[in-house]
Symmetry: C2
Subunit: 333 residues, 2 copies
DNA sequence: TTGTATGCGTTATCAT
DNA sequence: ATGATAACGCATACAA
């Protein structure tokens, strides 16, 4: 490994003090233009790059943020992560990636390690922490963005970004209703999921507003994958054979439900319509193509970073953002 | 934000010097057991965690690695990333995530930023750098693991991890042959992909060894997604209507090809068999289920981290690893 | 076993 | 405009 040039090397080569070299390189005032140019040229020639660690220690800023997700292999978080990383890169920030595996302990450990690294801010997705744990963590970091989670009294250094779950459920149900469907079932995600609970509430409310009965035997919970969707749909159809529509918590569940319908001799969408959420690539690949509520997840990630930078800069920012869904009508409903 | 305790606070509270506090906390010898316990208790009480930045500056070690991938939303890299992050976490390492978007410039910028951060090692996936650029980068980092890329004379701080592309192609072709297929086509990935080139070579060799003619009109290239697969397969089938098998560069291409076959009235696998590579979740979801060559990508990521740690620790490690594929026979072949 | 001096590479502060 | 000195928080080397 080649030895790398440090600021002292540049200063010595340019016959100036450390500080003038530092000022020149950081584009700060207080250096005559010719001296600055000479130093910059020398730095470029010697391949000098400031040591970020030393700089961080001196400035108490790391230009680094942490991204905590349950599982990066989940397409939902992979999309968010892409947006985060892109926006961070554009702003010269680096991002630490941490998986929690939906485990509270590991999530706490992840946050601990980020705290040790003295990062400037953190984007925390689908936190499983209790409200108390969360509050404690919030005061440890300069800035915090919560995705897929809300909190009662958000302090100034905390912003939440959530999908508009009520609207998601409303759009799905209204689409079914406009199509003449009246026996509308719902498959939620894990019972612990905040998003899932909100969507169930939205589903019930939309039914009620349409004057339809809200029957708990129309609802099932499922693991958020195709197999979960298949099993939940099978149970649902056994209980409610006349079902003519299913609103699913996400696309994977929707696809599983679709297959369960087909396996029981039902045609999609003729006999039963299905709508998912997320618009993952699979939605376009599967046949019939899945009608779903599209979410701009990469944008959610970008927004998270921009918000974080605002908080860090001390600029005012709205305490909560809501991502609006868009109905992608394809073939399943 | 609450002020955080530093080592000096602990030392003062315990009435000892900085060094005894440091030794106690780092589990180093030279501290009597009772003093150590007293310090540790105090540290726990005050919620002390060492400042990683300061420690890094002093020790010249960051216990941080960089993971550079073309695109984290690609399931292939998401799986690898998961393995990397898991193994890193187990070893108390943090990981920086960087996307290159398959852009040489951005890849260079990513490596630059990692260099500034003084990280201990890098896992670089599917690098698009030229051999010269790569050689230059290698001597800037203490340790480097290359995934999906080989290099001529690997230095001691560099280990490559590749999928066994020849074996992948061989297993696919042999499976087709055992099934009585004789008109075996191949859809490669992007022409620039090293993996794709090696698999094409393996495909040709396997045909030759079976005494079959190697006809370039049996080969197409495609973008690595379903639409690419669909178009390539359509072109292939137009040229070679009697085709009875297709080996695809990856599962997405395979699924696109499958749909192109079905759209032209062919039954899968009766009329034409299809085999993909990767075994992404979609392979089990799609109907007919996709026969494919399974790759343990998370293991690849874990291996990458372990190898990196070996290099960092100065332990000897084999210069190249090869990941073996496993044929998952499902329904498409 | 415990403590003191020094350095890691950079920036902030205060002089000149 | 430029420079000397201290400080960031910790660990290494050496002393007691």
């Amino acid at each position: 490994m080649k030895k790398r040039a440090i600021l002292a090397d540049i200063a010595r080569a340019a016959n100036v003090s450390l500080m003038t070299a530092s000022r020149a390189i950081n584009q700060k005032p207080g250096v005559s233009e010719d001296v600055r140019q000479r130093i910059l040229a020398l730095a470029a020639e010697m391949g000098y790059r400031p040591n970020a660690i030393a700089r961080s220690l001196a400035t108490r800023q790391t230009t680094t943020i942490g991204l905590v997700v349950p599982d990066i292999t989940n397409p939902f978080f992979a999309q968010v992560a892409r947006g985060v990383e892109d926006a961070a890169f554009e702003n010269q920030y680096s991002v630490f990636l941490l998986n929690t595996n939906e485990d509270r302990q590991r999530e706490s450990a992840a946050l601990d390690s980020l705290w040790q690294k003295d990062i400037d801010g953190i984007i925390l997705c689908s936190s499983r922490l209790t409200e108390a744990e969360l509050t404690a963590q919030i005061q440890r970091f300069p800035a915090l963005v919560l995705i897929n989670r809300e909190v009662k009294n958000p302090p100034a250094n905390l912003v939440t970004i959530n999908v508009d779950d009520q609207q998601i459920a409303r759009l799905a149900v209204e689409h079914f209703l406009a199509d003449g469907r009246r026996q509308i079932g719902c498959i939620g995600g894990p019972a612990a999921s905040f998003s899932s609970r909100r969507r169930l509430a939205g589903y019930r409310r939309a039914l009620k507003e349409a004057g339809l009965p809200v029957d708990s035997s129309l609802v099932e919970n499922a693991l958020p994958n195709t197999e979960g969707g298949r099993q939940a749909a099978a149970a649902l159809l056994a209980r409610q054979p006349a079902l003519d529509a299913i609103f699913a918590f996400n696309d994977l569940i929707a696809v599983g439900a679709m297959q369960a319908c087909q396996e029981t001799g039902r045609r999609v969408p003729e006999d039963i319509a299905i709508i998912g959420v997320d618009d993952i690539p699979l939605a376009e690949i599967i046949r019939p193509r899945l009608t779903t509520l599209h979410l701009n997840l990469a944008h959610m990630g970008r927004l998270g970073v921009h918000t974080l930078l605002q908080i860090i800069a001390g600029e005012p920012s709205q305490p909560a953002h809501r991502i609006e869904p868009h109905l992608m009508v394809r073939e399943s409903a």
